[in-house]
């Protein structure tokens, strides 16, 4: 418990640092959100527009305003905190999508990205673990080599290639699944495969190694010696320890799932938030990009914490104080 609190306390300075860097770096890039191919009717209009989004202020002031830590003097001479800001959970208005706030866009896109990530995670774990175990049991057999080869292929071929190939065959040639978009279980199949294959490959490799190491451990010999069936030895004793490398990989895995979903969302035209991070940068949509960076950072820190806690549950040797 104390450990979790300590970890949570640590996130605050980290988030400040991350958001500050994102904010500064984005503002340093040339061009702004309101530079367009067509100039506004007068230069004055652009100035008003920039003032509306406070782009005319110093970067420091803008950053404080973004955080919600800016106090301004009201006409009656009192100092008052400017409403909104990150501390109030308000990511501000989007500078590109002018009818939406960043909160609107996140609340629409995040569940979709999450669903895709979760499905790919299930797929990767659901395929990777059994295959890894299978390969470990058949170590040295042709089955072991076949699984290893497939895993290697899955790791080596990027989503950029797998996605279009899956579309070509399953969506266009055979018409089993939709070519793009999101909306039904059918739409989720190809993106899940595209995103999950790489991780399934990695997990099966990790699982195989974990299993092989564990099977040589003394407590397995003991378990066999006391007459347990081979299935019970595998499932009740070996698996629990062998899965640890996979669990500790889950942290980076979840991070990779999030970043990997940028590409997959693009290939399949999925309305998640990955697309907004990439396009937001190109559009200089400052609030959107900083908001998403903060969100991703929070997610990653949170997920890592969950993974660490899960680790302690599985491995009796690990306890956090």
């Amino acid at each position: 418990m104390f450990y979790s609190l300590k970890r949570l306390a640590f996130t605050i300075p980290l988030m400040l640092l991350i958001s500050f860097l994102a904010f500064e770096l984005l503002h340093v890039a040339p061009g702004g959100p309101f530079d367009k191919e067509r100039a506004p009717a007068s230069p004055e209009i652009k100035r008003v527009l920039e003032a509306k989004f406070h782009l005319n202020e110093s970067i420091g002031k803008q950053y404080l305003r973004y955080l919600g830590l800016l106090w301004e003097k009201t006409p009656d001479g009192k100092w008052r905190r400017v409403d909104g800001g990150l501390i109030a959970g308000d990511f501000g208005p989007s500078m590109k999508y002018r009818n939406h706030t960043v909160n609107d866009i996140i609340s629409q896109g995040l569940p979709v990205s999450m669903a895709l990530g979760a499905l790919a995670f299930c797929f990767a774990v659901g395929l990777g673990i059994p295959l890894g175990v299978f390969a470990a049991i058949r170590k040295g057999d042709w089955q072991d080599y076949a699984v290893s080869l497939l895993a290697l292929l899955a790791i080596c071929i990027p989503a950029l290639v797998i996605g279009p190939m899956l579309i070509m065959h399953f969506a266009i040639q055979w018409r089993w699944f939709p070519v793009a978009l999101w909306g039904s279980v059918w739409h989720a199949v190809l993106p899940t495969l595209t995103l999950g294959l790489y991780f399934a490959g990695k997990i099966s490799r990790l699982m195989r190694e974990g299993m092989l190491t564990t099977l040589h451990a003394e407590f397995i010999t003991t378990a066999r010696a006391k007459g347990l069936s081979e299935t019970a030895v595998m499932l009740k004793h070996a698996l629990r320890l062998a899965v640890l490398p996979v669990v500790s990989y889950s942290g980076p895995l979840l991070a990779d799932l999030l970043t990997g979903s940028f590409v997959v969302e693009n290939i399949f035209q999925i309305p998640g938030i990955g697309v907004f991070l990439v396009n937001g940068t190109l559009n200089r949509d400052y609030t959107m990009v900083v908001g998403l960076v903060v969100l991703y950072a929070l997610l990653l820190l949170g997920l890592n914490l969950v993974v660490d806690l899960a680790y302690s549950l599985l491995d009796p040797r690990v306890r956090y104080e």
């Binding site: 890039a29 061009g31 367009k36 506004p40 004055e44 569940p111 793009a180 190109l282 549950l313």
Partner: protein, 581 residues
């Protein structure tokens, strides 16, 4: 549970409400797996109610607010939601009566009196009156709203002064409601294209009460009162916009499709795939055709290429030596083989341009600009002080990275200048926003450029090169040009006006040549004319959705297996039908 999958809710619930669980930090991964599996299986089975028509519309709209939006894809949607005095004729995009039934124009061409129909109501039931126009137009002009397209109303008396804050009293602006159904509009000059402007999206009427109540998010809070043939049923960013027929629109009887889905898409390959598999009925953004497949696709009967009101051109930065000399600019222009560019690179039915204004513009025939004449070019370059290109500094050609086309054209130009004149051009590729900033700050020698006309009149092309115009971006300032354009726009007589504009354009593309037009755009739309009716390609690429419908519209199923239109053959090898990215 909807689990974040697409779900278009009933209008009372909000435009884009989405119910879905947050990521549950389960204690064990196995738990997580179980939860996810259950949710996924439960959430994915929502059948999506079908639309009568599905259109791929291009980029996700930045806004649907007529006073805010600037993009073409944005405009196409907003035009359906918000009506104006006039609307586009589906067949040729000329203005025809919409909310205004008729109008009178005084003999000096400066005062319009519009007579509104008497049966007009918003989609929410309130009456539409002339005051709605006054409100909506002043809203565009009000400086604090920072409407980038406020210039469309600078033709009104005191419009520009009100926008600049020199006049504070809105009643001095030349738009006034004489009574509920009569609108008086006073212009500075007789403005030949004023009815075209009335049709344009910026001048459409918006609901005052909803805007005053809900501020910038007024389009996100249902119900959005709409004045046009459709109302906004749902808007999920990057997913889809759903339009539902507005039964209270005065001409609702002629709105052909009940429910229309507009999909945002910027990948040409994905758009083509969606079309080929029967998910989308119409694709109508010119960027949504894979360039690599143009040769094949253009031969198909469902691909429709048409002349479009846009020009691809090169800007010279005349403030930089040696491009301040018109002879040098002419020389560089004269060695460009424009035919080669449209035949070898763009290949989409574009036409080599001689003038800046496309020849298919309404009521105007543009003058001939500079052709292909390397002999003359070398002579002019020598006169400019660079015989055989000797002593000519190496220079930069600026282009952006939004399309590979720009670089291919740049390489071609680079080669033409080297071969014919012995000049050395470097290509400077910049990411879009950086490129815009460089062009705006005149931080370039030559820059690739393009312009799409807003309305069907030469002014939309020619006024931008007046000295004080923010879109000039060449540093070229020519008093004769300014005077000609200004004079022309003060004429009541159309022929006299056209003559003056021609003289101005001669300065622009021949005598002074601060720009070199390369080609006129071709638009490209694809839809099967046997199934989709009511689309008529036109120079503005304005296809009112209200007149489009699918023949024997059948309910669409969400299961792709039933959608897989086996009837429609894929006309080329599968290997070509992949997505990019």
């Amino acid at each position: 549970m909807s689990f974040g999958l697409l779900e278009i809710t009933d209008r009372v619930d909000g435009v884009d409400q989405l119910s879905g669980p947050q990521f549950l930090p389960a204690k064990q991964i196995l738990w997580l797996l179980a939860v996810v599996a259950i949710l996924a299986s439960a959430g994915c089975t929502h059948p999506q109610p079908g639309a009568d028509l599905v259109i791929i519309n291009g980029a996700e709209p930045e806004s649907l607010d007529p006073a805010v939006l600037t993009g073409e894809a944005d405009g196409r949607v907003a035009l359906e939601l918000f009506a104006g005095l006039t609307r586009y004729d589906p067949s040729d995009a000329r203005p025809i009566p919409d909310l205004a039934e008729s109008w009178d124009l005084t003999a000096d061409g400066k005062v319009y009196t519009f007579h509104l129909r008497t049966n007009l109501v918003w989609s929410t039931g309130e009456p539409i009156t002339a005051d709605d126009f006054v409100y909506s137009w002043l809203r565009v002009l009000n400086r604090s709203n920072a409407a980038e397209y406020a210039g469309q109303l600078f033709y009104l008396k005191n419009g520009e002064a009100y926008n600049a804050g020199q006049i504070k009293d809105p009643s001095q602006v030349g738009v006034m409601a004489l009574d509920h159904h009569t609108l008086r509009v006073e212009l500075i000059h007789p403005t030949a294209f004023f009815l075209d402007l009335c049709t344009y999206v910026t001048l459409r009427i918006v609901p005052r009460q909803a805007i005053e109540r809900n501020g910038d998010r007024w389009l996100m809070i249902q119900p959005v009162p709409c004045s046009g043939p459709y109302e906004l049923a749902a808007w999920r960013v990057n997913d889809r916009i759903r339009l539902r027929k507005n039964p209270r629109y005065w001409d609702a009887a002629n709105t052909k499709s009940e429910i229309v889905d507009l999909l945002p898409c910027t990948s040409a390959n994905t758009a083509l795939n969606l079309y080929e598999t029967g998910v989308a009925d119409v694709v109508w953004d010119k960027n949504l055709v894979p360039v690599e497949l143009l040769d094949v696709l253009l031969k198909r009967p469902d691909f429709h290429s048409f002349s479009y009101l846009g020009t691809y051109f090169i800007r010279f930065n005349v403030t930089r030596k040696p491009f301040g000399d018109p002879r040098v600019r002419q020389a560089l222009a004269l060695v460009i083989d424009k035919r080669r560019i449209v035949e070898k690179i763009t290949k989409g039915g574009e036409r080599a341009a001689s003038s800046y204004t496309p020849p298919w513009i309404h009521g105007y025939s543009p003058p001939d600009g500079l052709g292909f004449d390397p002999e003359l070019a070398r002579k002019l370059l020598a006169q400019g002080g660079f015989p055989d290109g000797k002593g000519f500094p190496s220079f930069e050609y600026l282009c952006d990275t939004t399309s590979r086309l720009h670089e291919q054209i740049a390489i071609e130009l680079q080669d033409m200048w080297r071969r014919e004149l012995g000049l050395h051009a470097r290509i400077r590729k910049l990411e879009w926003k950086t490129y815009l900033r460089a062009q705006g700050e005149l931080d370039y020698d030559l820059s690739r450029s393009s312009w799409i006309g807003d309305y069907n009149d030469p002014n939309t092309f020619l006024d931008m090169f007046m000295s004080n115009n923010g879109n000039n971006r060449t540093g070229w300032s020519e008093a004769r040009y300014d005077a000609l354009v200004r004079d022309a726009n003060a004429q009541v007589d159309h022929e006299q006006r056209a003559r003056l504009l021609q003289q101005a354009e001669i300065l622009l593309v021949r005598e002074e040549a601060p720009i070199v037009p390369l080609y006129y755009y071709a638009g490209l739309e694809y839809y099967d004319t046997n199934r989709i009716k009511g689309i008529f390609p036109n120079v503005l690429s304005q296809n009112p959705i209200r007149s489009i419908y699918k023949v024997s519209a059948q309910p669409r199923a969400s299961n792709p297996k039933s959608e897989g239109s086996a009837a429609r053959e894929t006309h080329f090898a599968d290997g070509q039908l992949t997505t990019d990215n």
